[in-house]
């Protein structure tokens, strides 16, 4: 009997969910967190810096170019032999993230690599200059023949002229060629401080494993005065509705995109808005009654393809987007009019649609909440949205708590306070 009691005790003592452990006090970072996942095989270490392209005001693409340099430099943290870890980095408009993944025994190497991010870039200038060529090739690879991205970039600049949030993260070939390694290093010196970075460790390691290594590698990282983010500049909510046209050689069929940007509804917290936006985004991308797909694709045969989605960013704005391709015999103006009619009439979704989509989101997350990858993604979303990780339990509760009234409040904000941009993409020869 005692054995059974002990076994039950053992089983109960295993965490039902991976919870977030705050280890900030052992580091010189703004935040350091562990999500212990005994069932995972690899440890993931993500170092998120609160700086992105929106924090620069020179040639576009600098934050991303700097990320390339820092990644190469940091990767040498523990020698040039086989690394036995996977690593990469990314930059977006507001953040830069350096990540490593490998066996638990390599955690020390990964944290040493993270610490190296704050050190001086250790690369020959020639190499740094040729890395700029590599960034040009990345632009070629990802953006040059990508009219969807080019239209998105053009629309942002049309809607938010001269605003930090309308900067292009990768830049253009012209802007990349204006950047020098010295400009990138100067930017790094301004923003790359321990007190401007958050660390997230997920995987089969305990706090007891992690803390000594944190103390060794990340306690004495450089500190500094972090400048105010230029993207905090206020947006003018004047109801403007602008239009921009892109012509591109890779377009065979015209398409369009519409973005409506609005301030987050008053009284709605960041987390409430984030999860309500998730539900709204799923509704917009579903085939349920009230969705753009149901109305414009299935019923009216106006668009031959359509998708809708929504998101929020750290400026306190929410965004609703619809894009579509024209059905045969439908002109661009007819398609745009029909889509705007749909958006103008969108004040709520049928209760059945909300129930189907909401239930699916909750069920899916409830099912996947034990997956290490899901836990990692949810924790990281917390870093992006509020600066500290979400636990799976908290995230699930937040999704489950979303109400139709909250989704309606988002729609009302778009309708009453939105500013919008319509982007039209046409074949190059279609003049």
């Amino acid at each position: 009997m005692r054995i059974i009691i002990l076994i039950v005790f053992f089983l109960l003592s295993f965490p039902a969910r991976a919870e977030v452990i705050d280890l900030t006090a052992h580091t010189g970072l703004k935040g350091a967190y562990l999500v212990q996942q005994n069932e995972a095989e690899f440890v993931n270490v993500q170092l998120l810096l609160d700086v992105g392209e929106a924090d620069y005001d020179g040639p576009e693409g600098l934050a991303h170019y700097l990320e390339h340099l820092v990644w190469y430099s940091a990767d040498k943290a523990h020698g040039n032999l086989a690394k036995n870890r996977i690593s990469n980095a990314w930059t977006n408009i507001q953040f830069t993230n350096y990540w490593n993944s490998g066996e638990p025994a390599k955690l020390g190497d990964m944290l040493a690599t993270s610490a190296q991010v704050f050190e001086a870039v250790d690369l020959a200038r020639d190499f740094a200059m040729t890395e700029r060529d590599v960034v040009e090739r990345e632009f070629d690879y990802r953006k040059l023949d990508n009219p969807g991205w080019q239209l998105y970039n053009q629309m942002n600049k049309a809607l938010l002229p001269n605003h930090a949030m309308s900067r292009s993260v990768i830049g253009s070939l012209e802007s990349i060629r204006k950047i020098t390694p010295e400009m990138a290093i100067a930017f790094k010196d301004k923003w790359y401080f321990g007190n401007n970075a958050t660390l997230l460790i997920t995987g089969p390691v305990s706090a007891a494993d992690v803390v000594p290594l944190l103390k060794k590698h990340l306690r004495d990282v450089p500190q500094g005065t972090v400048p105010a983010h230029p993207w905090k500049k206020t947006t003018k909510w004047d109801g403007r509705n602008v239009r921009t046209v892109l012509r591109h050689s890779k377009i065979a069929q015209p398409f369009f995109e519409i973005y409506i940007r609005a301030p987050r509804p008053t009284g709605m917290s960041v987390a409430e808005a984030a999860r309500s936006i998730d539900v709204l985004s799923s509704l917009m991308n579903s085939s349920t009654p009230g969705s753009p797909s149901k109305v414009l694709y299935y019923e009216d045969f106006i668009l031959s393809a359509v998708s809708g989605f929504a998101w929020q960013d750290r400026t306190g704005s929410i965004v609703l987007a619809v894009n579509g391709r024209l059905e045969e015999g439908v002109s661009m103006e007819e398609a745009l009019n029909a889509t705007w009619d749909y958006l103008d009439g969108l004040t709520t979704f049928p209760g059945k649609s909300f129930a189907l989509v909401h239930q699916d989101l909750v069920q899916t997350f409830d099912r996947e909440k034990y997956y290490p990858k899901t836990q990692q993604n949810v924790a990281f979303r917390g870093l992006l949205e509020r600066g500290s990780p979400y636990s799976s339990k908290e995230y699930l509760a937040d999704i489950a708590a979303v109400t139709p009234a909250q989704v309606d409040a988002l729609l009302k904000a778009f309708k009453n306070n939105g500013i919008s941009v319509t982007g039209i993409a046409l074949p190059e020869e279609d003049n």
Partner: protein
Amino acid sequence: LKLISAFLALAFAFSSAAAAQEVTHHTSPDGHEFSFYHMPDADRLAISIAWKGGIANLPQGKENVAALAIDLMLNGGADGQDPADIRAEFEALDAGSHLYTDSDAIRGFLVTPAKDAEKAADIANRVLVKPNLDERWFKRSIRKTKQNVAEKEKHNAIQAWHTIRRLTMQGHPLEQVWSVQPAGNLDAITVEDLRKWHSESFSANDLVISAAGNGSPEEIGLGLDLTLKGLPREHKRSDLPPLEMAYNGKTILIHRPEEEKSFMAIVGPLPEGAHPDKLALQLGTGVLGSSEQSRLFKAVRGELRAAYGFFAQIHPFTRAQDMLALSGEVEASKLRETLAKVEETYNEMKSGGIGFLEYPFAKRIMMKRIRENYKKPSTLAFVMTEAHFEGKTLEEVINLEAKADDMGRGEVNTAIKKHFPEFSQMIKVIVTPDAEAIEADCVITDFRQADQCR
């Protein structure tokens, strides 16, 4: 200590029980035979149905009928029901499905929580047995396909791959299926063709059925009967002729002066997918070109600074024909150096294999992926069906992890040396705005001229 030992013994007993899971064989009430791998800890049930026989019942020039019919079945509604309603009904189940044609079978997958298996099977049955296949949706599907084809061929990589298929596949019907070229062939297809193909191709016989996940054989049997209910007893499916591929080793330059960038693809033959050395070749391909630590990445990006990335992949064309492809976008002014560097890097890999320091981590990554994938019922259902077509035992494919674990560096390197094609045998296709960028055996301006390069 005794208590802890007792607990550990119990824990091991549980894990041994899990490891002892094996494939069982069952017959549904309507007589459909299926294999089942029980995964009590899984949260899904996956059912794979393969309709044996390919699409050789289609007339020449109409090889795209099968893909169009499947697109319409999945997206055009069924049993008179509105397409949006069917999709919304299915989306609400937290389920997934897949339907596509292979060279020797039509393949269908249903992945669903076991509790929703009956509802998912009911929807699948309507789609399989009574698709609407109406004229209006057919025209929409044709239009979208043509637009996609027209848009894709504007891109360098697609130009290269259309050329590679034209040269290697030697006019096999699958070239039309995959390249959809000539796109004008689509104009000859009617909705009647789709209806005829549907009625002749889906049947309740000649099936290979595999299931994996957390359901019971009884639930699966009932779900299967519901899915297949009402399908004809006979079919007119037949396998396509075997695909024989040819690699002439030529360097082909596609000159596109209006382009701003260049693309390079180098392709050669590998043994059939069922070859005992397949896993070793996958590992070798990964080390050669699948990450930022790969040989090609380090050589072309790290040393030459000529590309953002350069990759190696295995493309399974048919069960008997795998292709090794090395490819990437390359700075036009460095094409010549890049080709030489890729050749040098590749030959080092072929002759020397995976290094002593590289091997443990590369294998670790592969083992991790196998373990992760094998936790998914959909993977198990898929590999069990593949085992049938590849002539392997179910136990062989279920125990892939053990096989991978037994694989040593010497064995892997022997396989790489033996099976990686000679670089001189591989076809090199370069798409570039600079006609003089590289010395080529054949210069063309569009994939449609590829026959000149045989």
